[in-house]
C-alpha cells in the first residue's frame, strides 16, 4: 500500500539488458523516473568507463549549443520555449545532430570573422574620410595664418592663397627653395593626443609641427564593438630622419597613418572614391548582418529542444556507464532500486524499450540485499512541501513511520497558536490562496529570486497556516489587536456615576449576577477583556495551560507512534523495555499534570452557590501541587468547613505518592531491562554455539559488498541505553517547558499588534477635527506596511521557525530515527530541472 504512513517498500533488482536495447530501455526508464541505478563501477575512473567517448561527444555538442545560445542572446533574439518534451534520440540520430551543430557553428564563426574584417575595413575608410575632411581645414587655415608670418618677414608679395604650395609657405623665407616639407596624416585615440604631442616634441627636439582636430562622431572598434573617440592629426617635418622618427612614434602610440595627397584636387578625388567604397561596404556589412540574423533565428527556434535532447543523451550514457558489461551474453547488467508497487510499470517500460530497438526482451529479477534500501515517499504537490520540512531534518529510515502525515495538521495548528490574529490570518490566507489559485501560470514562469521560490514552494503550507490562524484569531478574539463583539459580552457594568468617579479601578466580580451573566461568551474570549487592565494576567494563565496541554498531547502522540515502529520491525524487546516505561513515566507525571489542569478548570469557579473550598480564592496552584508531588511533600490535613484545602479531590495525596513511585521505577526499567535481556540472549546464543547456517539464500546475493553486522558489545549497549534514558527523562521536563514558547510567542504577537495600533494608527484616529481624515489616509498606509512587514512577515517567520523546532526536536525525538537516505530516481525531469538551474545561475 503506497501511502504517507510509512515509506514504500523498495526492492533491489537486477536488470539484464541486451546491448542493442540498453539505450532505449534506459531512455524509457528515464522518462518514467521510478528507478534508482546503483553505480556498479565505483572505483573506475571517469575516463576509463565504457561510454566515455559518447559522453565526450555530448559535452562537445553542449558546448556548441551554448556558443549558439550566447550569440543568439547577444543579438537579443527571443528563444521560444514551446514546453514540449522531446524524447531522447537514437544513437544514430546523434551523429546527425553533431553534424548539424558543427555546420551551424562553422557558419556562425565564418560570418563573425567576415563581419569583423568588413568592420575593420569600414573603420579604415571612415577614418580616411575624416582625415581628408580635416586636412582640408588645416591647409585652408595655413593659407590664412601665414600672412602674419610673411608680413613679419617683410615679404607680402609671396602669398597667393591656395596656388602656392603649403609646405613652401611653412618654411621661413631663407629656406625656401629646393627643400620640401614632408607630412604624415593619421588618426589616433583622443586620450593619447596629449602624450603623443609631448613625445613628438621631445623626440624630434621641436622640429616637427603637429596639428590635430577631433572627430565629432564616435567610431566603432571592430574587435570590442564599443564606440571610441578619435582625433585626426597631421605632422609636418623636414628630412628623412625625422620622418623615420615620426613614423616610429606613431606606431608606438598605435596611431593609424593614411596616405594623404597634397594637392586639393587629388584630395577631392580621393574623397569621392572613399565615399563610393564606403557605400559599397555598408551594403555588404548589412547583408552580412542579415545573414547572421537569419542563421541565428532559424537556430533559435530549435535550440531549446536540441539542448533537451543533448542533456537526455548525456544522462543516458552516464547511467550506462554505471552498468556492468556481461561479455558472455553480450549484454549489460544493471542493479537498481525499484519501489515494489511500481515493478509492473517498470516491466512495461522495459518492454516498450526493447520493442523500439527490436531485440530480445530485458530480464528483471529481484535480489535480496543486506543494506537498507533508500526511503521513498510518494508525494503529490500538496504533501511534498510537508515532506520536505521533515526531510530537511533527516530522511526517514527505511520503512519507518513518516511524521509528515501528521505534520500536515499539527504544523499549521501549532503555528496558529503562536500567530493567532484574525486580521493577519486573513492576509496570510489571501496570499496563500492567490499562489494556489494561480499555481499553473506561476510555476511555468521561471523566476530567479530564491525567496519567491521558497514562498511558492510552500504555498499550501502558507494557505493552511493562514486558515488555522484565522480560527485561533477567532478564539483569541483578536483582529489587529481589537476584539469583535458578535454575540454580546457576558459582563456588564452596573455601577452608578459616583462609584465610577471615586474609584480609579473597579474589578468586576463574577459572583454578582448583575456584573457577570453566569454563562460565558459562546466562542472565544469575551470581547470585554480587550479593555480590561488585567487582561494579560488572565490570558497568561489560559495560554500557558493550553500550551502545556497541547505539548503533552503532542509528545504522548509521538511516544505512541514509536509503538507502531516497534511492532512493524518486530522489536518486542523495545515495546517491553522502552515503550511501556516511557508511557508510564510521561503519564504518571505529565498527563497527570494536564488532568489536574482540567480538574481545576471544571471544579473551581465563582458563583453564588459555590462552596468556599471551590471558590477561586481557594484554588490550589497547580505548579506548587506538582512540585510538592515530586518532592513527596504534603500531608493529610483535617478539612474544616471554612478552610481551603490544598487538594482538589479525595485521596489525592496517596494517588500522587503512588504515581511518583511508579515514575521513579520506570527510570531503572528503561535503563537496565533491555541490556539485561540482550545480554541473556547473547549468552544463550553463545551456549548453543555458532552452528546452524542462517538459512540458504534463495535469491542471488547482490554483487555489491555487504555491510558488516551490528556490534553486540555489551558496553556499547549499556552506554547507548544510558544516553537514551537520560535523554528521555531529562527531555520530558525540558521539552514540556519548551512548549511554553506557544504562550510566549502568542503574547509577543498580541502585544506587538497592540503597540502598532496604539503608536501608529491611534495618532491618526485621535487627531482632532477633519484634518484627521487626511492624516488617516497617510497613517493607514504606514500602519498597513508595518503590519505586513513586522507582524505578518517577521512574526510569521519567527512562529514558523519555532513550530519547526517543536516538530523536529520535541515531537520527533520521541520516535523518529531519521537515518535513511532519499530515493533519487533516474528521471529526465529532475535532470533537466537541475541543468536549467545551473544555466540560470551561471548567467
Amino acid at each position: 500500500m503506497g501511502s504517507l504512513f510509512r515509506s514504500e517498500e523498495v526492492a533491489l533488482c537486477q536488470l539484464f539488458l541486451q546491448s542493442e536495447s540498453a539505450y532505449t530501455c534506459v531512455s524509457e526508464l528515464g522518462e518514467l523516473g521510478l528507478v534508482q541505478f546503483r553505480d556498479l563501477n565505483p572505483d573506475v575512473n571517469a575516463f576509463q568507463r565504457k561510454f566515455v567517448n559518447e559522453v565526450r561527444r555530448c559535452d562537445e555538442m553542449e558546448r556548441k549549443l551554448r556558443y549558439l545560445e550566447r550569440e543568439i542572446r547577444r543579438d537579443a533574439i527571443p528563444m521560444q520555449d514551446t514546453g514540449d518534451n522531446p524524447e531522447a534520440p537514437m544513437p544514430r540520430e546523434m551523429i546527425d545532430l553533431e553534424a548539424n551543430f558543427e555546420k551551424l557553428e562553422n557558419e556562425l564563426k565564418e560570418v563573425n570573422s567576415n563581419a569583423e574584417a568588413l568592420k575593420r575595413n569600414y573603420l579604415e575608410l571612415t577614418e580616411l574620410r575624416h582625415i581628408l575632411k580635416k586636412t582640408q581645414v588645416f591647409f585652408d587655415e595655413e593659407g590664412h595664418l601665414w600672412p602674419w608670418q610673411a608680413e613679419r618677414d617683410g615679404c607680402a608679395g609671396n602669398l597667393d592663397g591656395g596656388s602656392v604650395s603649403l609646405t613652401q609657405n611653412l618654411l621661413p623665407d631663407e629656406a625656401k627653395g629646393p627643400i620640401q616639407l614632408g607630412f604624415v596624416a593619421g588618426v589616433i585615440l583622443r586620450e593619447r593626443v596629449a602624450s603623443f604631442e609631448r613625445m613628438l616634441w621631445r623626440a624630434c627636439r621641436g622640429n616637427v609641427f603637429l596639428r590635430q582636430a577631433q572627430i565629432e562622431e564616435p567610431l566603432e572598434d571592430p574587435a570590442t564593438g564599443e564606440q571610441v573617440y578619435k582625433s585626426v592629426f597631421i605632422i609636418f617635418f623636414q628630412g628623412e630622419q625625422l620622418k623615420l622618427r615620426v613614423k616610429k612614434i606613431c606606431e608606438g602610440f598605435r596611431a593609424t597613418m593614411y596616405p594623404c595627397p597634397e594637392a586639393p584636387a587629388d584630395r577631392r578625388e580621393m574623397a569621392m572614391g572613399v565615399k563610393t567604397r564606403l557605400d559599397d561596404l555598408n551594403t555588404v556589412l548589412s547583408q552580412t548582418q542579415d545573414h547572421r540574423h537569419r542563421v541565428l533565428v532559424s537556430a533559435a527556434r530549435n535550440l531549446r529542444s536540441w539542448m533537451l535532447k543533448v542533456w537526455k543523451i548525456k544522462a543516458i550514457y552516464h547511467s550506462l556507464n554505471m552498468f556492468n558489461i556481461d561479455t558472455i551474453q553480450n549484454g549489460l547488467i544493471a542493479e537498481c532500486w525499484i519501489p515494489v508497487p511500481d515493478l509492473e510499470t517498470v516491466q512495461l517500460a522495459l518492454r516498450r524499450g526493447t520493442e523500439k530497438s527490436g531485440s530480445l526482451p530485458a530480464i528483471l529479477n529481484r535480489l535480496s540485499c543486506v543494506e537498507s534500501p533508500p526511503t521513498f515517499h510518494r508525494t503529490n504537490k500538496f504533501t511534498r512541501a510537508f515532506q520536505g520540512l521533515i526531510d530537511s531534518y533527516g530522511v526517514a529510515s527505511y520503512r519507518e513511520m513518516n511524521p509528515a502525515v501528521y505534520t500536515i495538521i499539527t504544523f499549521p495548528f501549532l503555528f496558529a497558536i503562536m500567530f493567532g490574529d484574525l486580521g493577519h490570518g486573513i492576509i496570510m490566507t489571501l496570499f496563500g490562496a492567490w499562489m494556489v489559485w494561480k499555481e499553473k501560470p506561476l510555476s511555468v514562469k521561471k523566476v530567479d529570486s530564491e525567496i519567491w521560490n521558497i514562498f511558492f514552494g510552500g504555498r499550501y503550507i502558507i494557505l493552511l497556516m493562514g486558515t488555522f490562524s484565522m480560527y485561533t484569531g477567532i478564539i483569541y478574539n483578536d483582529v489587529f489587536s481589537k476584539s469583535l463583539n458578535l454575540f454580546g459580552s457576558s459582563w456588564h457594568v452596573p455601577f452608578n456615576e459616583s462609584t465610577i468617579r471615586d474609584n480609579r479601578e473597579i474589578m468586576l466580580d463574577p459572583k454578582q449576577p448583575d456584573q457577570y451573566e453566569g454563562t460565558p461568551y459562546p466562542i472565544g474570549l469575551d470581547p470585554l477583556w480587550q479593555l480590561a487592565a488585567n487582561k494579560i494576567n488572565f490570558l497568561n494563565s489560559y495560554k500557558m495551560k493550553i500550551s502545556i496541554i497541547f505539548g503533552i498531547v503532542h509528545m504522548m502522540f509521538g511516544i505512541i507512534l514509536s509503538l507502531w515502529n516497534h511492532r512493524f520491525f518486530n522489536r518486542r524487546l523495545n515495546v517491553l523495555c522502552e515503550f511501556i516505561p516511557q508511557v508510564l513515566f510521561m503519564s504518571c507525571l505529565f498527563v497527570y499534570l494536564t488532568l489536574l489542569v482540567f480538574i481545576k478548570w471544571v471544579n473551581y469557579g465563582a458563583g453564588e452557590d459555590v462552596p468556599l473550598v471551590l471558590t477561586p480564592g481557594c484554588a490550589p496552584s497547580i505548579l506548587i501541587t506538582f512540585i510538592n508531588m515530586v518532592l513527596m511533600k504534603g500531608y493529610e490535613e483535617a478539612k474544616g468547613p471554612n478552610s481551603c484545602s490544598a487538594y482538589m479531590y479525595d485521596g489525592q495525596f496517596y494517588l500522587q505518592r503512588m504515581m511518583v513511585v511508579v515514575a521513579v521505577i520506570c527510570v531503572p526499567w528503561m535503563l537496565v531491562a533491555k541490556p539485561y535481556f540482550l545480554y541473556r540472549a547473547s549468552k544463550q546464543r553463545a551456549m548453543l554455539g555458532t552452528g546452524g547456517v542462517e538459512g540458504a539464500m534463495e535469491e542471488t546475493p547482490s554483487t555489491m559488498p555487504v555491510q558488516p553486522a551490528e556490534d553486540h558489545d555489551m558496553s556499547e549497549i549499556l552506554i547507548h541505553q544510558g544516553i537514551h534514558t537520560i535523554e528521555f527523562v531529562l527531555g520530558s521536563v525540558s521539552h514540556t517547558a519548551s512548549y511554553l514558547r506557544l504562550w510566549a510567542l502568542s503574547l509577543a504577537h498580541a502585544q506587538l499588534s497592540e503597540v502598532l495600533w496604539g503608536m501608529v494608527l491611534r495618532i491618526g484616529l485621535s487627531t482632532a477635527g477633519t484634518t484627521g481624515g487626511f492624516a488617516m489616509y497617510f497613517i493607514f498606509a504606514a500602519w498597513a506596511t508595518l503590519t505586513v512587514v513586522i507582524l505578518v512577515l517577521m512574526e510569521g517567520l519567527s512562529a514558523f521557525l519555532h513550530t519547526l523546532r517543536l516538530h523536529w526536536v520535541e515531537f520527533q525525538s520521541k520516535f523518529y530515527e531519521g537515518q535513511g537516505y532519499a530515493f533519487v530516481p533516474f528521471s529526465f525531469d529532475s535532470i533537466l530541472e537541475a541543468n536549467e538551474s545551473t544555466v540560470t545561475e551561471a548567467k
Binding site: 496604539g758 477633519t770 493607514f780 498606509a781
Partner: protein
Amino acid sequence: MKFCGPKLSLCCTILSVWGIIQLGIMGILFYIKSPAFLEDLFIPENATEPAAYIDAMEKSFSQIALNCWIATALYGGTFVLSGWQMWLNFKK
C-alpha cells in the same frame, strides 16, 4: 501618461483595496459607537464632568467616523488612479 512602474501600481492598488475595506468598516463601527475603540477617542482635557465627558466621547465617535470615511474616499481615488496605472502597465 504612465508615472508608476508595475510594482508600485500593484502595491498601491492592493493597499487601496485594503484601505477602502478596513477604513469603511472602521467608520461604520465608530458611527455606531463601538466600545472597542474607547482608547482611540480624542477627549479634550477640560471634560472632567461625566456629562461633558460623555458628550465629548460621542462627538469624538462621530468625528472619527467621518475621518475614516474621508480616508475611505481618498483611498477610493487612489484605487482609481493606481488601477489605471496598473492597467497601463499590464496591458500587453
